[in-house]
Symmetry: C2
Subunit: 95 residues, 2 copies
Amino acid sequence: MITIVAKSIVKEGKLEEFKVLTKEMIEESRKEEGCLSYNLYQDVHNDHILTFIEEWKDMEVIDLHNASEHFTRIVPQMKSLREPGSEVNLYQSIS
Amino acid sequence: MITIVAKSIVKEGKLEEFKVLTKEMIEESRKEEGCLSYNLYQDVHNDHILTFIEEWKDMEVIDLHNASEHFTRIVPQMKSLREPGSEVNLYQSIS
């Protein structure tokens, strides 16, 4: 299993627009084969930090996710609403 | 529920020493009241990035965790083995 943590720092004034995009990403991603969970979190101290925590079966299904119609359409729109410093990490559990 | 994502970039040559500390943190934290999960992840592209993803009942149990003997003893040791750029976020689920 692979866990993705994708942290976005959303530009001032763009939070609601960004959230609309995340809603579609969540709905579409959860339908994908091999998506075990796909959830969005908001920082309790800074509401402009929004982070996806996602669990996927393996790297193969992540490659399919990254090539999907919804990913390739929505991610560029999300990027235009983010500050620099946003980050994505792919993890394996070791405990 | 509060989800904590605590990402460490471990100094070159300090990975095994850091992992020994994480082992004790995990064991002790999982015993705490209100700790729903406490897991360690390693970045698949950079083995020096180690991230805890933790689920806690509420802010009150996190305050107790932060004041615990094991936290106040082990975290400073972990900090001495980390690069700048390590980060901790506290999140609420919004999806």
